[in-house]
Symmetry: none
Subunit: 405 residues, 2 copies
């Protein structure tokens, strides 16, 4: 709750942010950039005061690209601001408004920089921030095959059972399997919609959305009554990618919107994972493209996904990895030689570790696997790194996302 | 033709290498290491002379691990050496013997170091070295699914059509699909067997082996009458990996022998490629393991494979990669001399081209490879022929392997 724009409910800044969310388009970077140096109440006041004041505001921030035209557009929508009565009615209908700085605000959205949503409308029983602390985005083809639906449902259910929230877009196909898998397992799921929450899209998903709200949360950055637009789906995808610890593409054709979500995840330095499928299936071609050309990680089961979103040894996935604690001096000389080549910061690939330790790759991989089970090393985006503890740990809860600068 | 052990047929060293191949196990590193400092005739002589001389030989090479015991084992098999009459009978039956330094010896096998085969027995119409100049090893599950068989057959056929030789192990399942795909496309295929060539294994593959010999070549490092042994299959895999430019695993369960071939390819710094499949299929789990944990490249079609086995700019796969044409006058004088000996009609073997151009065989092969990449020459049933265009076209052939030091 460190951000001045929403220190307390009902402050002028909070009211101004809410009003601005009805004037600007979702994720409009000009407004995000402007709000870095101007307060929201100041911006709203200038827009409301007239054309000259608005132009002066834009002129005072020449570094923000396209601001002069954006200001005119925002002014043209001043009539769309909701009355306090309307806001109250929405909230009475079960919608709630969450702004940056609120307890329920997921701080990882700050990674979006100037395209961070101004606010989020929520409907549902789950606390959004808690549902996303340890979560995975699972997205894919609307025209999913039986294979993709089966795999998506299964993976989501197993992840949800392990306490991992499932974030998706509420669409037909893979999105539906992801949400339904989490719901079936009694887990948390978050549906990020492209239009306002009173316009649940697609229309046939009323029942799914009701179930998500009952057990998880529906999310939208759009005013509640705003119907979804075609570009809105792509703009929405950045929120799906930013909310979670990583994005899994279960099935996707070559030009699928799911690949757009994967791109956002990559830009946000979140792991991008892809589920392989038959090379004869067009609905897996996008996944294979991610694996082949974009360095996505190949995941074949929930366990693989857990490996990528949490440090090895963190212990949520149970099984032989939570072995007895081995003191570092109990390691054999070969393992010690390998461990000495695993950096604490960054990471190093197994081949490079093997060469530096003077062992062959298979030996290095065997030692790394053993030491991971004992909590000395963990896999990371860059290969392997040593854990900071000089011995095993057994954390059951994932560390929070790092606070954005 | 720089190796002393086989300068010419019938030399003492050549006879000694042949004899030693009946005494040592395939790929035995102790013999490979010993032959780095001792001549094969000298080794055979010591073994034949008696226990004391054999021990003296072993004592003179203390750096070779396990040599003393190996020497005793080799001595115990002295009776297995074939008579000249038997060797002659094998050759009359269509088998041929190829030793390092022979024209048909694939120089890339030298990458195996001390486990390089002492010699190879061949049966078939194709020149082994040429068949492997631009080749891919395609391996996988014996218990292949319909999916794997379909994909293997299709990929092998398309690669073979583009002039890529298909190397595999002649087993049931994916191996069969790979060989059959190449044969169906009228291409070259090489079957590397684990036992002697008079023991074609599996027995049910007599017809396949006949077809491979008719259009390609069967290969074994074992004495012709030696039945296959269980460890022999794994030892054989290093040859499959070393002969080609890269190894593709089409389908493999988690403990499949195909993963052993992939490991050899990795150790040889050849590209390891894996075909993804349904995550619900056990027969793809090994491929996914390669993709997930060993950095294998994800390949979904023949085009992907071509991208990995040929240098960018070599241009077999059409499209923007076909760089600017190289005019014939831009060739260097040696290449021009070689090109002048390549006929437009029919074809000519590389040795014959080399002799006529006044260059050695390696130079001729190097020039032919380069000119093939630039579209001046192409491979044909009779060796090489000049393309009818007086300039480059889409090259169908890859440049040769670099000569081993």
């Amino acid at each position: 709750m460190s951000r001045t724009e929403s220190d307390a409910p009902g402050t002028p800044d909070r009211r101004a942010v809410t009003a601005l969310s009805f004037l600007a388009d979702p994720g409009e970077p000009a407004l995000g950039a402007l709000l870095r140096s101007a307060g929201p109440a100041e911006v709203l006041e200038a827009l409301s005061a007239g054309e000259r004041q608005s132009e002066m505001l834009a002129g005072a921030h020449p570094a923000v690209p396209g601001l002069m035209r954006a200001v005119q557009r925002w002014r043209s929508r001043l009539g769309l601001q909701p009355t306090p009565a309307r806001l109250a009615a929405w909230q009475q209908s079960g919608l709630r408004l969450v702004l940056p700085g609120d307890e329920e605000w997921p701080v990882q959205l700050d990674d979006l920089g100037d395209t961070r949503p101004l606010l989020l409308w929520l409907r549902g029983s789950a606390d959004l921030r808690l549902a996303c602390v340890s979560s995975v985005s699972m997205v894919g083809a609307r025209a999913a095959t039986g294979y993709g639906q089966h795999v998506g449902l299964e993976m989501a259910a197993v992840l949800a059972e392990r306490g991992v929230g499932i974030v998706s877009g509420g669409a037909f196909g893979i999105d539906t399997s992801a949400h339904r898998g989490a719901l079936a397992a009694g887990g948390l799921t978050v549906g990020v919609l492209a239009g306002g929450l009173n316009h649940g899209y697609p229309l046939g998903h009323g029942e799914l959305f009701t179930a998500i709200a009952a057990q998880g949360t529906l999310v939208s950055e759009c005013p509640p009554d705003q119907p979804p637009t075609r570009p809105g789906f792509l703009i929405r995808n950045r929120i799906i990618a930013a909310l979670s610890r990583g994005t899994v593409v279960v099935e996707a054709a070559l030009r699928s919107g799911a690949l757009n979500t994967a791109r956002h995840a990559r830009e946000l330095c979140r792991p991008v994972m892809a589920v392989p499928g038959p090379v004869t299936s067009e609905q897996s071609a996008g996944c294979h493209e991610l694996l082949r050309d974009y360095g996505a990680m190949c995941v074949t089961c929930a366990r693989d996904i857990l490996d990528h979103i949490q440090p090895l040894g963190a212990g949520s996935s149970a099984g032989p990895r939570n072995g007895p604690a081995t003191p570092r001096d109990a390691l054999d000389p070969v393992a010690t030689a390998v461990l000495e080549q695993v950096p604490v910061r960054g990471g190093r690939g197994p081949a490079s570790i093997a060469v530096r330790a003077g062992v062959d790759l298979d030996t290095a991989l065997r030692c790394l696997g053993m030491m991971a089970a004992d909590g000395f090393v963990e896999r990371c985006g860059l290969g392997w790194r040593a854990t900071r503890l000089d011995g095993p740990q057994n954390a059951k809860i994932l560390p929070d996302f790092g606070q954005d600068p």
